[in-house]
Assembly symmetry: C2
Homo-oligomer: 122 residues x 2
Amino acid sequence: MSRQELPVLDAACCAPLTGEALSDESAAELAKGFKALGDPVRLRLLSLIASRKGGEVCVCELTDAFTLTGPTISHHLRVLREAGLIDCQRRGTWVYYWILPAKLAALSQLLDVSGAAAPASV
Amino acid sequence: MSRQELPVLDAACCAPLTGEALSDESAAELAKGFKALGDPVRLRLLSLIASRKGGEVCVCELTDAFTLTGPTISHHLRVLREAGLIDCQRRGTWVYYWILPAKLAALSQLLDVSGAAAPASV
DNA sequence: TCCTTGTTTAGACATCTGTCTAGGCAGAGA
DNA sequence: TCTCTGCCTAGACAGATGTCTAAACAAGGA
């Protein structure tokens, strides 16, 4: 269940937008991450997982936090997983999810424009 | 053309995911921003604008950087604009775009999980 | 072995999204 | 005023997305 095929964080992932313009490939790779974040349900799921002190959350708790059906939550968790933002493991009856900070950090750094030149006209 | 209706950056926008779990409303608001970033073309557009030294780019230059038609570029710029990530102004014949760093910073900070507890199982 | 519970997969369906063509508006120059 | 250029809007359309129900799979317990 744990995906091991995500060792590569594109080199361009750690440079801010204010640096060199993004290549086609970098943009495509990074857009996948942002797309996964671009849904309120997924953002709340990620928030619920990330804010959990132990670092792990059972699916049943996540499902309880929404009025959506189990399959829908499962679908959103899969999208987050395929984007490399979270991972999971089954332990007995339950499945636990946790965040993968590396990918989040890469996306965060891309958007970090602090210290960038302020546009004259604003 | 400049939108002035975007003074409010939701209070929850500046807290990292590792803090308190996102409210429904905050998640919806923030997801709009990430959704706008979740397309390779828009990410490249933003990158082209943000990496420009003068801080401003003419639409004609942006259009030249893609094989897409003008209306398609215009559509993507509109999405970025409505997400509060960029703004624009017509000067004579040309229209110039620049980034709005506040919104980018808010999204960046949300994803900044540096210093968060690393999950035990990874 | 069978039943129960937790979770995922499969498939259907309405809605949203990215792209295009056609056409319109704004400003500059003849 | 006319025309040209730059950019946007309107509308169409194929494909992607979010949601559901039904069904399957996995693990634990009687």
